[in-house]
Symmetry: C2
């Protein structure tokens, strides 16, 4: 086991349900300094665990463990933190309660406070659903967060984003004919259609037009679709996926008592320096939506990743995209660092 | 019954299978003139019948039945022309053979020749899969076709287009867990997920961002997704849908003996004046793909429909888009008409 567990105890979720014996799985990289202010939080995305975040961490990179103490909390529902797949009855599988991005960030703050005594965070960075968590950190705890860097993440599920997440969910529910009573019959094999639906959203038209999957070692479109998308999704637990999709569909940073759904006010409350990096060809977390958000955050810049890799421009696969992100993070970490 | 039937007899399909007693359902508007040269062919799109094409036909419009003889042939597989739902064993339901756009156009030509003695076509116009048929007409019968106007249609399933069609198919196959032997158990109810997947592709991010479904009388995103997308798809026969998706996935205009897969050569063979109208925000029949095609057709212009209605900019729903299309068709029909 290459990660630690932080026991949350019984937690009252935003939904009103109490989840007993909840826990966060997390991994840290580097050493916390004496002032406890060299902290970077790097939450995971839909379907990911801390392992998938590691491409961005390393000596000489912006997220340098020789300099920073990097905490990677795993998303609730991902199979390592409390999830449908690892929670005993009565909250197992299809009965796992709804958790929100807000919940995730509340618990991550407890991890930082209670385990490490951390009160200041130099940076929260995350990709996709991890990016939403970065926005949420900035909104929920402006006094703690100096900088945020959402990559291919948006501050709420915009309507089209909601529809795309809904289509992934529908492809899965089709296997049990939308019969809620049969949800427990879902198996990982039923994730096959979900992978095929995601194949169209993950990358751009230009990526497919240029047949860049060939550079990844796939000789045909069918091999790529089956080899990458079916396989990766069929390794996931369907109830975990449903939980994370639901988290994504209800991830509006203003959907909480502090802001009561006032999205613009939630954005305006972010005092952190924000570097927002959409993928320029992302089809479902769009650069235009990020542009709206950046205009309402007092101290934010929009830095689109000019790439045909669509949503996956922020995923650590394509070297020029990776370099761009790393460089922007270095600039962001330098911003105000001498004050 | 508001349409006619043209019996094709036993037809040898491009796939090598002979389909017995095949037929085309079609409707005509207007009167064929003595020179038999006032002909407009207007094939139907995926899931449509001739009825859905009628918004573009009317007095004073480009497709004026007082001036032109407009023939609307129904796509094979749509439930009116030979389809899985209306073909007796051994070719019923899941056993209906693969038909191609090439097949469709071969049979449409027979309809025009044998029933009406038509040798010249003033215009072939079509939306989406109807647009592919317009390209195919231009390639297969350059000597017959004076003008083509593909609207939100492309000349082949570009790789991303293929992936999108594949995702619709996968959402349906999920209901029988991808078990080919169980295909006959599919019902229209299983089309629900397909509708939800299509909801993300049919319209643009900007459409959803502006919540334009409210202008269509839907109070919420959920009402729109269920009311429009689920409902319209759940009225379709799943085997007809699988057949039409397969037609779309194998619709390359060069995939036939005349061109042997040489796509650029097939495009170059089109002598018709072409007015190609992509939706500027179409997510899966993209303007960029049409631009590639237009550069290779000797006498073509690209006229993007500047609209946030995505793929549905060509569907007759949004008045400014409708007017734009009608005006371009009037210009196209005027082109070379006095020679």
């Amino acid at each position: 086991m290459d990660y630690e567990i932080f026991d949350l105890g019984d937690v009252l979720l935003q939904s009103g349900t109490t989840l007993p014996d909840a826990f966060l799985a997390y991994r840290t990289y580097g050493t916390l300094n004496e002032r406890r202010d060299n902290v970077i939080v790097y939450p995971t995305a839909f379907g990911d665990t801390h392992t998938q975040n590691e491409w961005l961490i390393g000596p000489g990179q912006a997220l340098d463990p020789e300099r920073y103490f990097i905490v990677v909390p795993n998303l609730l529902g991902n199979g390592l933190s409390s999830s449908p797949s690892n929670t005993p009855p009565p909250f197992d599988r299809a009965r796992f309660p709804q958790v929100t991005v807000y919940d995730n960030v509340v618990f991550q703050r407890r991890l930082l406070h209670e385990r490490f005594g951390i009160r200041r965070i130099a940076l929260v960075v995350g990709w996709s659903l991890g990016g939403i968590q970065a926005f949420q950190w900035g909104t929920s705890y402006p006094e703690m967060v100096e900088r945020i860097a959402p990559v291919a993440g948006i501050a709420k599920p915009w309507p089209h984003t909601f529809v795309v997440l809904d289509s992934l969910r529908a492809a899965l529910l089709s296997a049990v004919r939308f019969d809620e009573a049969s949800l427990d019959r879902l198996t990982s094999a039923d994730m096959r259609a979900v992978g095929r639906v995601y194949a169209g959203w993950g990358l751009s038209q230009a990526f497919y037009r240029a047949e860049l999957y060939r550079e990844m070692g796939f000789d045909s479109l069918e091999e790529f679709t089956a080899g990458v998308w079916e396989n990766s999704f069929m390794q996931m637990d369907p109830h975990n996926v449903l939980s994370m999709l639901r988290t994504g569909q209800h991830a509006d940073i203003s959907d909480n008592p502090a802001y009561g759904g006032d999205f613009d006010r939630a954005l305006a409350s972010i005092t952190a320096r924000a570097c927002v990096m959409p993928g320029s060809t992302d089809l479902f977390c769009s650069a235009d939506d990020n542009a709206y958000e950046v205009r309402r955050i007092p101290n934010a810049v929009l830095q689109p990743i000019l790439s045909v890799w669509g949503h996956f421009a922020g995923r650590g696969i394509h070297e020029p995209d990776n370099r761009f992100i790393d460089e922007r993070l270095k600039e962001l970490l330098a911003y105000g660092a001498d004050k």
